[in-house]
Amino acid sequence: MSAPMTPPRTLAEAALAEAFDAALPGLPGGPDARKLRETSFSKFYDAGLPHRRIEAWHYTDLRALMRTAAPLAEAPSADSLAALREKLAASAPGCRLVVVDGVFVAQLSDPAPEGVVIQSLASVLAAGRPDLIALLAAQEFGGADTIVSLNAALMQDGVVIEVAPGAVVAEPIRIIYASTACEPRASYARSALIVGAGASMRLIEEDFGAQAAQTNRCLIVSVGDEAACDHIVSMTGMGRSSLRIESMIVRLGARVKFKSFGLIGDGGVVRRQIFMRFDGADSEGTLSGVSLLRGREHADTTLLVEHAGTGCAGRETFKYVLDEEAVGVFQGKITVEKEAQKTDGRMMSKALLLSDGVAMNNKPELEIFADDVACGHGATCGGLDENQLFYLQTRGLPFAEAEALLLEAFAADLVDELLDEATGAELREKIVCWLSARGAAPAAGDAP
């Protein structure tokens, strides 16, 4: 048989290689970081952009979806930061950390609350603390993904949050992503969250205004024993021609309570990938999300949940509302290692299809090597229940209202179930806002 063929380089791949060579001298970090960047980039470049023959990217063919690579965003100017400061004044409560075009901006951010140390990724890379660098490099778990490698190669900056053991942080820490670029630009941020043993905290990531045309973000989370951590990410500030890849790599200690919720709406191509590994015993990990899609949007949620500790409970629930010609993808893989006895894993994906032009692809996977486990997954997709619609109409609701009511109930119940009241209300409002705008004119930021 002939040797494996190297596919011809796409325009985007060539542009990325050029961008990497040009940017490398200016990217933060010492020689170690540089080495990491180089090996990561060659890992990416050897494999190329993932395409449909790569199992984990079967339904999100980046070779086809990413035709060009936008140039890397420049550091924001003082004027644009000043303008941003005014706009940010009225944002929600909590400790605010601002990342503009992939770069952490200290002067727009709040001071760290008690028990928390906040640094920029650039300063961490420069200081070269080996434990932090190793964590940020994320070479073992999740790091094998080519797009995570690309992020490691090009990471411009980000936030490194360390929560001291036992610290209880009452107010949420809020990372706000903003962009000042007028032209289509790419941004690569990599952040880390280290929650010490017994600590508890809440991290919210949200978009502020329009975002860079191509973003590739990576968040690395390590939760110590007996800690509690809630994570909420809302991805709603993208234009319809944007491409966004959000990777999260999570490792959980023993007796941890970890929750993560993501809202995806109004984007072009979105891929949210979560790699979560239960290292310790008796932990609870909950991953959930709602994707609201219309137009020709494409949203992919891909999970890899690895159970290595015994007696852990994993809960994954994802919902999709698809309208017009949107494409939804859910891939979830639960693996249970031989030692991870007494694992309880449940995964569910539900999609509501509102128009005949949509497509929903589900691939829930189980891979189990331990015998004393209870694992299951479910996947459903279908239209709205006509009986329910009919019932509401007999009660005097017009069709549109009845439909809106059912959609809200479908999409928002996860929010009520999983989140505290304040953040729940915030997200619920976003969902209702999307639903009421359904069928209206396309959202802002639609420029190519």
Binding site: L354, D356, I368, D371, V373, G376, C381, G383
Partner: protein, 490 residues
């Protein structure tokens, strides 16, 4: 408690030898030279005295095969197969077309008697044997040795004969349908089969006929280093019905043997095919030595409206199973069903599942898959359910449950669910668990041993599928399940 007694009896009756079909019969055979090239393809074609179009068809497939690579996506791991180190044709010497059972080599008949396959037409007709009648096509290595009840079937207009014979007696049907469901370009193993297939069954049920008896093919690999490549083609014309059973065994050998079959089913308007398999190829010993590599492409095409295809399989044998019986639901309101029990023990590796492709309107499908892994085996369900944009009203229900016995095995589920319109309703559920301690405790507290209790619970676990099997297969399947799991408890 009749059910308990039944289980106890069954467990007692299990042979000590784990694989009781592992004997080898010394029957003189005629083989093609070892290896694979165009001459071998021509040799096989010439042996069967095939018309030119079929020879060319085979050669086309062979040339295509040369350009293909062995698929690696399945969750199975096996040493590289040397395709040049195999015999692609082997026939018992005496098999030069026996006219009746009397002319069949008595040695061969003995083999089938030993396997418990009823070839004795007269006995059954004379009322000596039980009344239930099954027409059998017995395929021994590369050729069909005998087909029973041909005359009686012919009265009803049913054609049931070896495919090598059908090529001559019904060329128009063979030419029309062969490769129309699984094209020669389909996949590596199907393409290989298209090039070198030796024999298999051909069934045609004319319009409006309900086949008067169950049809059955029994496959036996006897020779060493021989690949078996059978090809089955079943056509159910408008409004007809047929139930078809397939069974297979092979002797115990230390080398791996290759089996790459293709089964094509076609149903026209209102027709129904029920296809049941009990696959019990030699699985290799407990250390994974020997055993059959079973790479099978099975596909049914529901061409007409309201047609139905139902696959039922009990997979207990083979070292490697790579098998995805599928349904293409082309006709409006057509229906596909897939019921499967896949049991793996020792070092067996199973990667099996189904595809339900919804193309017509209001098509429905149902998948029930039960996987049981024990020992050091790996058992994967891999399935696809998809609906085309125009397949309005498509419905699917999928249920795959896996049971793990012991902590050295693995059970995996990989479903692909692709939906393209709002009126499609797909539901999928999968669970993996072990036998509940509570259930075991309850049974043992009632006086059953651990092994008996396990057998009872497993039989309960697979009951949904067993119910779909024709009667005599269901009994055989239950025994097989008990044998397959022997030694996995305690």
């Amino acid at each position: 408690m009749a059910a308990v007694q039944e289980t106890v009896d069954r467990v007692k009756s299990i042979d000590v030898s784990e694989y009781k079909y592992g004997f080898f019969s010394d029957i003189e055979s005629e083989k093609a030279p070892k290896g694979l090239n165009e001459d071998i393809v021509r040799f096989i074609s010439a042996k069967k005295n095939e018309p030119d179009w079929l020879t060319q068809w085979r050669l086309g497939a062979f040339r295509r095969w040369l350009t293909m690579a062995e698929p690696t996506w399945a969750r199975v791991d096996f040493p590289k197969i040397d395709y040049q180190d195999l015999y692609y044709y082997s026939a018992p010497k005496t098999a030069a077309g026996p006219k009746s059972l009397d002319e069949v080599d008595p040695e061969l008949l003995k083999v089938y008697a030993k396997l418990g396959i009823p070839l004795g037409e007269q006995e059954i007709l004379a009322g000596v044997a039980p009344e239930r009648r099954v027409a059998v096509d017995a395929v021994f290595d590369s050729v069909s040795v005998v087909t029973t009840f041909k005359d009686e079937l012919a009265k009803a207009g049913v054609i049931f004969c070896p495919i090598s014979e059908a090529v001559h007696t019904h060329p128009e049907l063979v030419q029309k349908y062969l490769g129309s469901v699984v094209p020669t370009t389909d996949n590596y193993f199907a393409t290989l089969n298209s090039a070198v297939f030796s024999d298999g069954s051909f069934v045609y049920i004319p319009p409006g006929v309900r086949c008067p008896m169950e049809l059955s093919t029994y496959f036996r690999i006897n020779e060493q280093n021989t690949g078996q490549f059978e090809r089955t083609l079943i056509i159910a014309d408008k409004g007809s019905y047929v139930s078809y059973l397939e069974g297979c065994t092979a002797p115990k050998r230390d080398e791996n043997q290759l089996h790459a079959a293709v089964v094509e089913l076609v149903t026209h308007e209102d027709a129904e095919i029920k296809y049941s398999t009990v696959q019990n190829w030699y699985p290799g010993d407990s250390e994974g030595k020997g055993g059959i590599f079973n790479f099978v492409t099975k596909r049914g095409d529901c061409r007409g409206a309201r047609s139905k295809i139902s696959w039922t399989q009990v997979e207990t044998g083979s070292a490697i199973t790579w098998k995805y019986p599928s349904c293409i639901l082309r006709g409006d309101e057509s229906r596909g069903e897939f019921y499967s029990i896949a049991i793996s023990n020792g070092r067996q590796q199973v990667d099996s599942g189904t595809k339900m492709i919804h193309l017509g309107k209001n098509t429905t499908s149902r998948i029930i898959s039960k996987g049981i892994s024990a020992g050091k085996s790996q058992n994967t369900y891999r399935g696809q359910v998809s609906s085309h944009r125009k397949a309005t009203g498509a419905r699917n229900f999928t249920n795959c449950d896996s049971l793990l016995i012991g902590n050295s095995c693995g059970a995996h589920t990989v479903p692909y669910i692709e939906s393209r319109n709002t009126s499609t309703q797909f539901e999928h559920e999968a669970t993996t668990s072990k036998i509940s301690d509570d259930q075991l405790f309850y049974c043992m507290q009632r006086g059953l041993s651990a092994e008996e209790a396990t057998a009872l619970i497993v039989n309960g676990f697979v009951r949904d599928v067993l119910q779909q099997l024709p009667m005599e297969f269901a009994v055989e399947a239950q025994k097989l399940i008990a044998i397959s799991l022997e030694g996995s408890v305690g």
